[in-house]
Amino acid sequence: MWDFLVDRRGQIAYQAFQHVSLVVQCVLLGTLIALVLAALVYRNPVATSLANGLSAVGLTIPAFALLGILLAPFGFGIAPAVIAVTFYATLPVLRNAVVGLAGVDRSVIESARGIGMSRPATLLRIELPLAWPVILAGIRISTQMVMGIAAIAAYVLGPGLGGFIFTGLARLGGANALESALVGTIAIVVLALVLDLLLLVVGRLTTPRGIRV
């Protein structure tokens, strides 16, 4: 096991970086999409329940199946991996953003409108900052979840640590097969914990002092 780590440290480090980079970029993109969607739906009850339904149903689609479906139009490589990971990253953030925006005190919004703040300004300066802790919780859930899903993206030859797991599992019984699968899995768990810690710090730094618990 140790030899395996030392021999391939360059490759492991490179794939770990690829993995984190895929996850971070997809979560950022997914958050952006989720916030835009949430801003579009949160004031309309019908659209809101539609969005909640979408995020609930979306999360039940097996990652393998989705990747398989994406193979047909996009082929192997980065494109299907990014699309699938972003899809899963969007859903928890969308759900939390809708809940968070709906939870902002009506009287605060009314007073913002009452002193002459426009609709978009109210969303940007009042509603989003107040919903931010809830949205951030969604981003953390999302990051944890897609760390695992990104591993499966190796199935369509996407980047990341999934490659170690898949090659290991394919050659189970062979030399270094178990090591390969274990390294991939453990590295993902460790990186997921590190990312979560980072997000916790980001949360501390970005939550206004007046609403910190």
Binding site: S107, V108, E110, G114, G116, P129, I211
Partner: protein, 393 residues
Amino acid sequence: MSDPVPTPVAPAAPERRVSGVPIRLEHVTKRYPGQDRPAVDDVSLEIAAGETVMFVGPSGCGKTTLLKMINRLIEPTSGRIFLGDEDVTNQDPDRLRRRIGYVIQAGGLFPHMTVATNVGMVPRMLGWEKPRIAERIDELLDLVGLDPDVYRDRYPRELSGGQQQRVGVARALAADPPVLLMDEPFGAVDPITRHRLQDELIAIQGEIGKTIVFVTHDFDEALKLGDRIVVFDVGARIVQYDTPEAILADPAEEYVAKFVGAGATLKQLTLTRVNSLELRPATTATVGEAAAAAVARARAAGDELIVVLDRRGRPISWPTVAEVSRMTTIPATVDEKLPVVGLGSTLSDALDTMLAASQGGAVVLGRRDRLAGVVTVEMIMDVVQRTRQEAAG
């Protein structure tokens, strides 16, 4: 209904500065889809510049809807709204609202912003220069009785309910709007704080002279604060629009009489304000000065009590001469139970305050919390006596 009421013997001081503009509503109606009766049914109303007009009526009578149509948080179905001579019915609502102060229950402060940011919101939207905004914020906090150095950087949750409400008023006044709309602003605070906030509003209004429209369900509050009162029935039908004195003396309908409630004679105490009495001057002492000097002054003036002022000239305690003579210097201890009323307080509030503090008198604050004098229970009893004699004679 909209006929201007003859001007009463003005309850307000004649030298009062007026910076407000008149508000005119013409045949304003609000219909909600799916409801057969309009929430506001063809209301016409004229509010004079610089007056405080109270909207009272049962809940659901449309008084709040009518208020929110003035700044178009609710769009009228038909009718026209004028601020001064300007028809604002079709103006951009956001720009309109920046010219109209708006205060709601608990202030409606933005919890993620500091007191200063909250107060400076409207000036910032209007594009004022930063130094001017900072100066304005301090000026306003001072106006509502909050020390800017202490409160500027606090967050709303670090303030008491009464303080939040004060910041709400400061924010509404930030860009010096001619009109102030207040939607049951003091509904969520305890009665003692509410009385103080009411007193302060009267004092502030005495300084600024805005046109204030104030919705309340508390008739005593309406009597105390209003230059005039509008009593509404369902559909925002105006039942009576008159001065508090006139409504008490001559309720327009059975409905108003019921709303006014029993004990209308004692309610006259609600209409007499502390500033109409000849206040007794008090012997004062400043924190840190020698006690003996203060005692000598009190004895010379024949006072049994000494009002202790802090370095900003605000009363903090009210010890007896005997107590002070046992001290060497005047202490800075703040007496939490010090009975305090404002110049604009009603006699009934003053009496309440004295009873709550078990004292025979109360300290009267003038502008910016400076000492104005002392009111005693005897002075109030004199007024009661006189009113009774007038009623009998």
